[in-house]
Symmetry: C2
Subunit: 386 residues, 2 copies
């Protein structure tokens, strides 16, 4: 009977605790674990999650059953522990059995839910004392464990450097593809960061660029940004980074009213040229469901005119000026020149980046960049951790 | 002096009304228009939006000035109407002038803001009586006006058909590229919808697929989905569509508690195979800032086990069952067989799509699909409307 284990996933769920008892109640089965925890599971929930090959297509491990096709008052005839599995006989004839590892991982009693919330990865905030995590190109390209360590650093710290990268044009693509496919934008798949006469973005000039996220003009800002240095013989052009989450949290402490204004008043970002016209209205700071800072959207050179009520306009300017002023404070800023064969990879929705002006007459400067979404980062981490 | 008109945009802003008067107050300039409207503009706002070539780089039309570099108590020495423009002399020496068309389009008095809100495009809801907007391939490929009409139908109705499309593999790409680049996913750039033995999604079987959005497992579901029919000799496999916004609005009317549950309780969607493991937790119905239904996220076969409190679980099941039951009601459903040389293009975040089971032994069936994001749709509309 153990062959009928959960097929609705490609993950495995190690058994953390034995099932001890199961009791059929009116609308639920009350499961007791060997460590004393009690997990109620509603009949609907259990029937919905039956992992048998009638309910789940074993090739794709996707559900075929639709719960709406089951009586909404369905109840169990019996529930028992059978060779370690929870075994349920339903009225009407269907039979289900549930792997104890899977069941514990999906239990929704308060203790189980709190345990899972506590196990969620959290951001490690940093300032100008940050010890930059540096990774080796050859190791990341060959060793899945080195790849995983790099991706975890990206997820949790949001800023990494890689060294030993070839300096041929296009070398960036296979590195990004260690994670997954590259996210294209109106600037292409791999974009060349060089000073150009016909620039369609200030990024393609020799100007200084203030601290910003890329493509705040889109509904979903790219999750990861790569910047790969091929040539850097020009004077100036140092890279600057700040942890946008650290700044937002400091603002929250130091000026709660300004913080709230940046969370609540949407700002339009615009990216327009002769061929495209992107506009996106969104607050500069986004919070997650728990109220924690989850995203920063910021690029002064892509910002449209503020639009809010006349009464709120002075507050919005005060808050915006304060945030920008904080990005300029030394306590937050990491300043570093990128050399040929090195690349930056960072969380574009958290880590703001800037560039000092450079002198294009003093020597060549050529970076290549690309984007990958957070979905791909997390998927690769999950697969490597299986 | 008129040569110094707004350069911070590629759009043009026709003059809708003459400037009549400008009066310098403490922290703002009070502009009066010829039609009597009064628009206050704060000094900070006006200085921030100075369109001169010192403040905006004329090639990219992106801002170079950062407002934080201007005194936060900056005020105007004088403001006057000069050859139709608003001309402002600032303390400290800078001079700005503003085009009246641009200024009216960005005024933030209550009347101007309400006018702009009222002019925003709104969704036209539909049911089974919907007169499907059908577009001609040749016209869309050649005529910018036909292209624009198609895109407006997509934006406002969320479901269109195109006919006269070549049936060679890959013919879909240039159609999508009339809008912009194609959004890649883990299923590729163009994906083949065919029954496959080694399917990595139930979409690639001959099963019926219940009404769903594609890639609800991602943070941002694709905006537009294309499905192009190359061959359709198999029995069955009819396409079914419902307007998810219409169903959500009906649910809101008929069962407000269920509606709220689907807006508030997040559900995990999962898309996993041997190479990827996507998980996304989000509510099934998302509202916009004004409380209107803005997005539907739904695919029963990609849904993970519900996780909410024991107390809320019965409500979530009741609401979910009700929503699914509504997608099966005849009043909402459009059922149509797609023929070779035809394609569906629809708003994947609004219009749910389904497929009846087909019999792969009765004949070949081959569709190709791809995605484009809402950002690209809106950008192309804006450029065509310039």
């Amino acid at each position: 009977m153990q062959t009928a284990a959960a097929v609705a996933d490609f993950r495995t769920y190690p058994k953390l605790c034995d099932l001890a008892d199961a009791q059929v109640l009116d609308d639920q089965i009350r499961v007791q674990w060997a460590d004393g925890r009690v997990s109620p599971f509603h009949h609907q929930w259990l029937r919905d999650n039956c992992p048998c090959t009638h309910c789940v297509y074993s090739v794709t491990r996707e559900q075929v059953l639709e719960i709406v096709d089951v009586d909404e008052n369905l109840s169990a005839i019996s529930a028992r522990i059978d060779q370690g599995f929870l075994s349920v006989q339903w009225h009407g004839g269907h039979h289900s059995q549930y792997d104890p590892g899977w069941l514990r991982a999906h239990a929704y009693d308060e203790e189980s839910r709190a345990e899972r919330r506590a196990a969620k990865p959290t951001s490690r905030l940093w300032d100008n004392t940050f010890e930059l995590p540096i990774f080796d190109y050859a190791a990341v390209m060959q060793d899945p464990e080195a790849l995983l360590q790099w991706l975890l650093a990206l997820r949790d710290s949001g800023l990494t450097q890689m060294r030993g990268v070839p300096t041929e044009s296009g070398s960036l693509a296979p590195i990004a593809q260690r994670i997954s496919f590259i996210r294209e934008s109106n600037f292409g798949v791999l974009f060349n960061v060089q000073s150009k006469a016909d620039a369609d973005s200030n990024a393609y000039t020799a100007f200084n660029l203030p601290l910003h996220s890329d493509l705040p003009t889109r509904e979903l800002q790219p999750g990861l940004q790569f910047l790969h240095c091929l040539v850097n013989d020009a004077d100036g052009g140092e890279s600057i980074f700040v942890d946008g989450f650290a700044i937002a949290n400091a603002l929250r402490e130091e000026d709660p009213e300004a913080f709230r204004a940046l969370c609540e008043i949407p700002v339009e970002f615009r990216n327009k040229d002769r061929h495209s016209d992107y506009r996106r209205l969104a607050p500069i700071i986004a919070l997650d469901a728990l109220g924690d800072v989850a995203e920063i959207r910021m690029a002064n050179f892509l910002r449209g005119p503020f639009e809010t009520s006349v009464a709120q306009m002075p507050l919005l300017y005060r808050a915006y000026r304060r945030f920008i002023a904080m990005t300029r404070e030394a306590r937050f800023r990491l300043v570093k020149r990128l050399n040929p064969g090195e690349l930056w990879c960072f969380d574009n929705r958290r880590t703001l980046h800037a560039r000092n002006a450079f002198d294009p007459t003093s020597g060549a400067r050529h970076f290549q960049g690309c984007y990958i979404d957070r979905d791909e980062l997390l998927s690769r981490i999950f697969v490597l951790q299986r």
